[in-house]
Amino acid sequence: MYAMTRSVQAQRSGHVGAKAADLLSVKVLGPLLLATLAGLPIGAALWAVGAQMLDAAAWQALWADPQIGRAWGMTLWTGLASTALAWLTVAHVLASGFIRQQLGRWLSRLPALLATPHAAMAIGLVLWLSPSGWALRLVSPGLTGFDAPPPWFTTQDPSGLGLILSLWLKEVPFLLWVAATQMQREDLRRRWQAEYALAQTLGRTPAQAFAQIIWPQLAPRLRWPLLAVLAYGLTVVDMALIIGPATPPTLAVLAWQWLSDADPLTQSQGVAAAGWLTGTVLVGGVLMVVALKAFAAMRKFASRGSLPQSQATDRVGLLQQKTLKWVLHFCRRLPLQPNVMWTTILTTYAAVWFALTVGSVSGVWPFPNVWPELWTLNAWQQVASSAHTVWTTLGLGVASASVCLLWSVAWLELAPRRWQQALQPWFLLPLVLPSVLWVVGLYSLALHTRLEGQWLGLSLAHAVMVLPYVLLALVPAYQAVDPRQAALVASLGHGRWVYLWRVKWPLLQRAIASAWAVGFAVSVAQYLPTLYVGAGRFATVTTEAVALAAGAQRSLMSAYAALQMLLPIAAFALAAWLGRPRRFEKIAPMKATL
C-alpha cells in the first residue's frame, strides 16, 4: 500500500515536472518578453540621453545663459501654481459631487474635456483673452472705448497667468478621470458608499465623512497621476509656446529652442536644460510623495481610530485634512452653488470650443466687431487640401493606441501581480519625465536604429508616450475583476480562452475601449516627439496648429485646433459606443416568487 502511494506520487510529480517546463515558458517567458518589449526602449532612451548629459561645456553654457534663472523661476511658478490649483479644485469637485450624489452624472461629461488637447485649449483661450480676443470685443468700444486692440499682454503675459489658467483647465479633467477610474470600480464604489454612510451614523456631517473617510483612501491612489500633472506643468512646451510668457519663456521652452538650434553646443545646452528640468521634476516628486505619505498616515488614523506611530506624520496628516476642510468651508461660504467649480470648467471648455468653431470659419473680422464681417470655409478647404496631415495624425494615433492596448492587455493577463506592481513605475516614467528629455533619448535611439524620420520610428516614439496612459486606464479595471469568476467559469468546464472571450473581456469592454481612446487622444496631442523624432518630415494637426499659433492666420489656426479636438472626440465617441452597456429587454418587473 505504502509503495503504491509512493509510486502514484512519483508519477504525479513527474507529470508536474513536465508541466512545469511548459508553464515556465508561458508564465515566465511571456511576461519577460513583454516587459523587455516595453521596458527596453524606455531604458535605452534614458541611457542615450544620460550619456549626452555628461558634457561639462554644455552645463557651463547653461549656467552662463542670462535667461536661465528667470526661466527656471517661471517654470517653478507656473508648474507649482497650476498643480496646486488643480489639486484643490479636484478635491472640491470630488467632494461636492460625491456628497450631492451627482459625481457620476458630472463625470459622464469628462471624455469631451479629456479629448480637448492642450494646444487646442491654449489656442481657444488665446482667441478669447488676447488683446484682439472675444472678451475685449464683447465690451468694446462700449465699456472700454477701444477702437483698436490695446497693446496688452493678456496672453503670453510675463507673469505666466495665461499658462497657469490653461494648465489648470487641462489638468483638472485628467485628475478627475483618474479618480473616476477608481471611484467607479464596482468593489470600491460599494465599500466607500457603505463607509461613508457609516461615518455619518457615527455623527459626522457628509463633508466630514468625505474628508475623513473617502478622501484619505482616494488621495494616495492619485499619487502617480498627480506626479504626472506636476511634471507636465513643469515641462510643457506646446502650450507654453502658445500662451506662456516669452521674455523669458519657461525653461522647457528654452530647452526646446536650444535643442532645435543648428549649433551643436546650443543643442547640448538644451540637453543639459532638459536634465536640469528632470532634476526639478524628481525633487518636486519626492517632496510630493512625502506629502502623500502623510495622507496614508491619516488613513490609518481614520480607519483604526488610534494615533499613528509618528507624531510628525500625524501633524502633516491633520494639516492636509484641515486644508481640505478649509477648501470645503471656503466654497460653502461663497454665495454660489457648490458645483460652481465644475460649472466654471464646463463653461470655459464650451467657450473654447465655440471660439475655435467660429474662428475656423471667420474671414475678415475687424477689431471691435463681436462677429466676423465675412464667413468663409477657406480654412477648412485648406485643411482638406492637405488631407495627408489628417491621415498621418489618424495613422499614428490608431497605430500607437492599438499597439499599446494589445501590449497592456497581454501584460495584465500574463504578468504576475507582483511583476506589474514592481515594473509599473518604470512603464509610467514617460508620464513623469519631461518630454524634452524623451525626445532627445528617443531621437538618438531612432538614429541608432535608423528609424529617425521614418513612419515606424515615429509611431514607436508615440507608443512610448501613449503606453503609460493606456496602462493607467486599464489597471483599475483589471484590479476590480473578481477572481472567483475565473474559478466559476473553469468549474463549468470551460478553458481560459472561453473565460477571456466570453466573460472577462466583454465585462472589461468599456474600460478597454476607453483606454484605446485615451491612447489615441494622447497620440494626437503629441507635439515634440512628432517634430523631433519625425525629423520635421511629418506634419500632424497638432504640429500645424502650434506652428500656426505664432502667425496671423486665425482661421487656419482655429481649424487645425478644432480638428485636433474633433479627432479625439470622435475616438471617445467610438469608444463610448463600443463600450456601451448591454440593453436588456424591458420586462415588467414580476413579483419575486421566492
Binding site: R417, P483, Q485, A490, S491, L492, P581, I587, A592
Partner: protein, 231 residues
C-alpha cells in the same frame, strides 16, 4: 469502492504555515457532506483545493499549495486544471454574468458535446435551458437582466447553472449566507433535493448549524493556532 469524492489533505497552506493538515473526506454519490468551522479555518481553501482554484483564493496572500490527493470516481484530480475536473462550484454571491441574460447564463454552462463526443444541437441546448428555468420556477424570465432578479432567484439560477454543466461533484461555498432566514429555509430543501437527484457527491461549506444537510456527514474544521484569522 472508488465511487464518489475522496479527499486526503496531508498539508494545505503557504510555504510558511499550514492552514489544514491531515484531513480526510469521503463523500459517496448522492450524499451531502457539510464542512463547518469558524471563518479563517480554511473551509473555502479546502473547496478550492478540490476545484483546483487555489490560485484565485490566494490572490494577494501567500500562494497556497496542496499536498495530498483528490480523487473523484477513481480519477486523480490534483494535477488537472479546473475546467477538466468536472467539479461544479456555487458561491455565496450567485456571480451571474452581468452581461448575459438569465437564459444566456444558463446556456453558457450547457456542454456543447457529451462524454461520447456527440454534439448536441442548439435546439437541444436551448431546451435544457428552458427545462432548467422551469425547475428553478423561473419560466418566462429567461430574457431578463440577472440584476433584476431577487436574491433567492439569483441563488436558484446559480445552482441550475452549476448543474447544467453536468458536474461529477458539486461544491457549495456558503450558498445561503447572503439570504435571510425565511428564504434560506425555503431554499435549503429545494437545493438539497436537486443535488441529491443528480446522484453526485456534494460538499457544503457553512458556519450555520441549520444548513447541515445530513447530520451523519458533518466535518468540523478547527482554526489552527497560527491561522490568518487571528491576524
Amino acid at each position: 469502492m472508488n465511487d464518489g469524492l475522496h479527499v486526503h489533505i496531508e498539508r494545505l497552506g503557504s510555504a510558511r504555515q499550514a492552514l489544514v493538515s491531515g484531513l480526510r473526506l469521503a463523500v459517496p454519490p448522492g450524499e451531502i457532506l457539510t464542512l463547518m468551522g469558524p471563518s479563517g479555518c480554511g473551509k473555502s481553501s479546502v473547496l478550492a483545493s478540490i476545484a483546483g482554484t487555489l490560485a484565485s483564493v490566494s490572490e494577494g496572500l501567500q500562494p497556497l499549495q496542496l499536498q495530498g490527493s483528490v480523487q473523484l470516481n477513481g480519477r486523480e484530480l490534483s494535477h488537472l486544471p479546473t475546467h477538466q475536473r468536472g467539479v461544479g462550484l456555487v458561491f455565496q454571491d450567485a456571480l451571474l454574468f452581468p452581461h448575459m441574460t438569465v437564459a444566456e447564463n444558463l446556456l453558457f454552462a450547457v456542454p456543447v458535446g457529451d462524454a461520447k463526443g456527440t454534439r448536441s444541437t442548439n435546439a437541444q441546448r436551448q431546451a435544457r435551458v428552458q427545462q432548467a428555468l422551469q425547475e428553478a420556477e423561473l419560466s418566462g424570465m429567461g430574457e431578463r437582466d440577472p440584476s433584476t432578479l431577487s436574491g433567492g432567484q439569483r441563488a436558484r439560477v446559480a445552482l441550475m447553472r452549476a448543474l447544467l454543466a453536468e458536474p461529477q461533484a458539486l461544491l457549495l461555498d456558503e450558498p445561503f449566507s447572503k439570504l435571510d432566514a425565511a428564504l434560506r429555509a425555503q431554499l435549503r430543501p429545494w437545493v438539497f433535493a436537486h443535488v441529491r437527484e443528480r446522484r453526485i457527491p456534494v460538499v457544503l461549506v457553512t458556519h450555520d448549524e441549520q444548513d447541515v444537510a445530513d447530520p451523519q456527514r458533518v466535518v468540523h474544521l478547527r482554526a489552527t493556532e497560527e491561522s490568518p484569522s487571528h491576524v
